[in-house]
């Protein structure tokens, strides 16, 4: 069993630290049990189970630091791994940016572990696959999907008195449904900490419906369109913004967030309705309440009223700049509105509904310009109703331009551990057509 209780973890880590002869020593102990099933062509293709446990030991003499890892926790092994980290530290060049371990911290109690998810069985996974395959076969559609679930714990301790422990569970599911004539494709993604919130049949049927609806798409001219981005599509571009919240690269002049030898904190960069924050205790998207270096993770606002409120400062850069460190977040939550997808469609005179964006790559880090394509369900809307499926487009767009062109915010949905609203955006830039289904 790779999941230790708080007391078991504490004992192992205390033992390891008792062997330390360095100026300071910090240990991280992690373990997880995970299972997956993969299917394609309406048949199960592979499935697997993994069990992992690792103790990482970091020792330092002054600013010389060494790290060693082990997966056996008897006294002899613990002694060996601590000694090895010390040898490595002595051999390492000095890292002037090494900040040393933190002292004791106070953490909120995390809410991201759900026992029922930890108890998922191989039979359950097979049933999930079957709840895609059976309806697919009956609708002349081919299913390909993947379910991955995990339960784990993380703990850390150091010679300065810090101790942290957290258990977590997670489940991720995606399925692609393709019509057997090859002209339609639909997809859904679902992820939860709590498996009881997961309905594989509902998810599979949604993907089937999209596949059937998207058959025989028409080509329309690329150009600027009003789009309704489903939360997964919106996240694809918001990720680009999320990756640019580092204060250091901003202050160094090599980020979208750079400005006049400093950064854009306090500057309005997007529509005033945009609010983005992170919160490890949000009940829909809970996460750990501390990160791998022992910093507490708290509710943090990144953008409010369209204005940059915070950037992430690691401990070194915070010290350089004389500010408090702001750790990178474990989730993003973007404020939404009341509108349902149906209502967003109803209020659209002419536009495109986008299920997801795919193969998103940075084109210009200066402007956060990204390219990619629509995929698995793209539909033309006219006078408040979906008229017909359209061929996929390539886009070239920046999340900054997108959030400045915001029309309406819809309801929030959990995607990949984040809460993202449906968004209606005007003048979204599609630059070419794709024949891909």
């Amino acid at each position: 069993m790779a999941i230790y209780t708080e007391e078991e973890a504490r004992k192992i880590m205390e033992k390891a630290l008792s062997f330390s002869k360095a100026d300071a020593c910090e240990v991280n102990l992690d373990g997880s049990e995970s299972g997956n099933i993969r299917y394609a062509r309406n048949s199960v293709s592979t499935s697997g189970h993994r069990s992992n446990q690792t103790l990482v030991v970091q020792s330092n003499f002054g600013k010389k630091m060494g790290t060693a890892t082990i997966d056996e926790f008897d006294d002899e092994s613990l002694k060996r791994v601590v000694a090895r980290s010390e040898e490595l530290a002595k051999l390492s060049p000095e890292n002037p940016e090494f900040m040393g371990p933190l002292g004791p911290q106070v953490y909120d109690k995390a809410i991201n572990y759900v026992e029922s998810t930890a108890n998922i069985t191989p039979e359950f996974r097979a049933e999930v696959a079957n709840s895609s395959i059976e309806p697919a076969v009956s609708k002349d559609v081919t299913a390909a999907g993947f379910l991955d679930d995990s339960a784990g714990f993380s703990a850390m301790m150091n010679t300065k008195g810090l101790f942290a422990y957290n258990k977590s569970t997670n489940l991720e599911f995606t399925v692609t449904m393709r019509t057997n004539d090859g002209t339609g494709s639909g997809w859904v993604t679902r992820d939860f900490n709590d498996v009881t919130k997961f309905n594989a049949t509902e998810a599979s049927n949604t993907a089937i419906e999209k596949a059937v609806m998207s058959r025989e798409a028409k080509a329309i001219e690329p150009g600027k369109y009003t789009v309704i981005l489903e939360p997964s599509a919106g996240l694809g571009l918001l990720n680009g913004l999320g990756r640019s919240i580092g204060a250091r690269s901003a202050d160094e002049g090599r980020s979208f967030m750079s400005k006049d030898g400093g950064n854009k904190i306090g500057e309005k960069i997007v529509d005033e309705r945009v609010k983005i924050w992170s919160d490890p205790l949000n009940s829909e998207v809970p996460s750990a309440t501390w990160n791998g270096s022992g910093q507490p993770l708290k509710k943090t606002t990144w953008i409010e009223n369209g204005i940059v409120k915070n950037l992430a400062y690691d401990r070194f850069w915070a010290a350089e700049k004389g500010v408090e460190p702001v750790p990178y977040p474990s989730n993003f939550i973007m404020a939404g509105g009341d509108a349902s997808l149906e209502e967003l469609i109803k209020s659209t005179k002419k536009g495109i509904l986008v299920t997801r964006l795919w193969y998103i790559r940075s084109v210009d880090p200066q402007t956060l310009l990204y390219t990619g394509l629509t995929r698995d369900g793209t539909f033309y809307i006219e006078n408040g109703a979906i008229k017909y499926p359209v061929k996929n487009f390539r886009f070239n767009e920046s999340p900054i331009i997108m959030l400045n062109n915001l029309e309406t915010l819809g309801k929030q949905v959990r995607v990949e551990g984040n809460l993202i609203p449906y968004m209606k955006i005007r003048d979204f830039t599609f630059t070419s057509l794709s024949d891909a289904v």
């Binding site: 394609a40 062509r41 293709s45 592979t46 499935s47 697997g48 189970h49 690792t54 790290t67 890892t69 082990i70 997966d71 390492s92 890292n95 002037p96 940016e97 191989p122 097979a126 696959a129 079957n130 395959i133 390909a144 993947f146 991955d148 399925v175 692609t176 393709r178 997809w187 990720n239 990756r243 160094e252 002049g253 090599r254 979208f256 750079s258 400005k259 006049d260 795919w358 193969y359 998103i360 790559r361 940075s362 084109v363 880090p365 200066q366 956060l368 390219t371 394509l373 996929n392 390539r394 070239n396 920046s398 990949e416 551990g417 630059t431 070419s432 794709s434 024949d435 891909a436 289904v437």
Partner: protein, 546 residues
Amino acid sequence: MKRRDFVQMSGLGAGALLIPSTMMGNNIAVEALLAPGMDVLVKKRMADVALNTATSMGATYADARIGRYLNQYVFTREDKVQNVVNTESFGIGIRVIVNGTWGFASTNNVSEDGIKKATIQAVNIAKANSKFQKEPVVLAPVSGQGEVSWKTPIQKDFKDVPVSEKVDLLLTANAAALDNGANFVNSALFMVNEQKYFASTDGSYIDQDVHRIWPTFGVTAVDQAAGKFKTRQAMSAPMGMGYEYMDGLDSEKLVGAAGLKLYRNSYDMIEDATIAAKQAKEMLSAKSVDPGKYDLVLEPNHLGLTIHESVGHPTELDRVLGYEANYAGTSFATIDKWKSKNFKYGSDIVNIVADKTQKGSLGAVGFDDEGVPCKQWDIIRNGVLVNYQAIRDQVKMIDQNESHGCCYAQSWNDVQFQRMPNISLEAGTDPYSVSQMIKDVEKGIYIAGRGSYSIDQQRYNFQFGGTVFYEIKNGEIVGMLNDVAYQSNTQEFWNACAKICDKDDYRLFGSFFDGKGQPSQVSAVSHGSSTTRFNGINVINTGRTV
């Protein structure tokens, strides 16, 4: 944000470099890299435990892979060493066929007891999944190879080179860039040694020692006043070579258009960093491209990625058949097109070969990860699609009975599956140099180095950037360009292939961390070509004001 599968090691240029966490193993002391590992006789005995256990439980086929994966990564920025990582991962993966169904399990407990337990788990998984199996596995025959071995032909093992020498080289390159006007430099050196032992119930016991290396950097110039920054990436290629790749031999240097220095089988990192700094500064004030149709002259270290995305992935048979539909997608290069024997993938001069044997390439091994001897075969001949990339359980689906030998797993704890071999464009047969090619272009753009890349899930529509762009007017390079990306359709693009330089310009591009599958696995693959011209390709301007 989803970063679970990646470890953020260092910022390379503007974008952070994320290394798949599966590429990491346990941290070890640098000296431990030199430890010999398990004796081959013991490996054989341990592999036989798996094969015998599987057979006794009703498996009709079994293979065992005992792997020791040693990695050393060095990261620096400006005058600082950020991290030196030495890792080792050791264990065994066992794959079985029971009731016509695959089962797989792995363990890092390489003892008789641990191996038996994992084998039983693999058999049980196969039995459980056979309930839902609709297409029983049929393996193409391969003869037992007996006890054989293969080794990447290296001259200098990275494990024998002191870390201090590697750190010195990176810091010297960084200093060269800073001295020549760069504001920031991130550099990294990736070195990989796969020591893998394969045994199967077909009677093969194969011991292989595989080496790979990748030096790379991002050199950034900042214009604070204008609020602009530009990054020039390295012109190196990841290679299936030892540390001798870092020698920087003059004999392996080539001169590209616009005086670019390019590298074949030996890389001069200090020289490249020096030039990169000058070019990054030049990029800050280069002209923004006028969108429109251009003849593109694509340098091999750029074209390799275009080959990878637009020919490599679409001709993977598992994609074509739908096994990757839920992740990377399917392919436009469907079976009916291949069966027609006249599907014009490209113009008559386009000849694309798949290969697992080319010296210095990332894909070169003696045998693949299911014991099939490696070879070379045609994918496109005279512009026509003639074959795919397929492994033992796939070739029957294209009426063939010999595996192509391109099965791979990134580690002992991942199941092996079809992975891209080296996919390369043959050089032109008539003597033709890059300077001659430039002379023949009226309105064009010369593109060198890797850049942004994106392609749809069936591999029709793509958009590529590059590292550096130069405008060609009436047969001459007239200056550097910014904001260039080309958009095309795979079949149109390859049919617009007008001219290919000769073998003197031929060299390898590489992808060190190519991802595929769920759970995702990485593999390393090379793509060879000579500088090639494509006529009338659509170029867009990617400049924006925000």
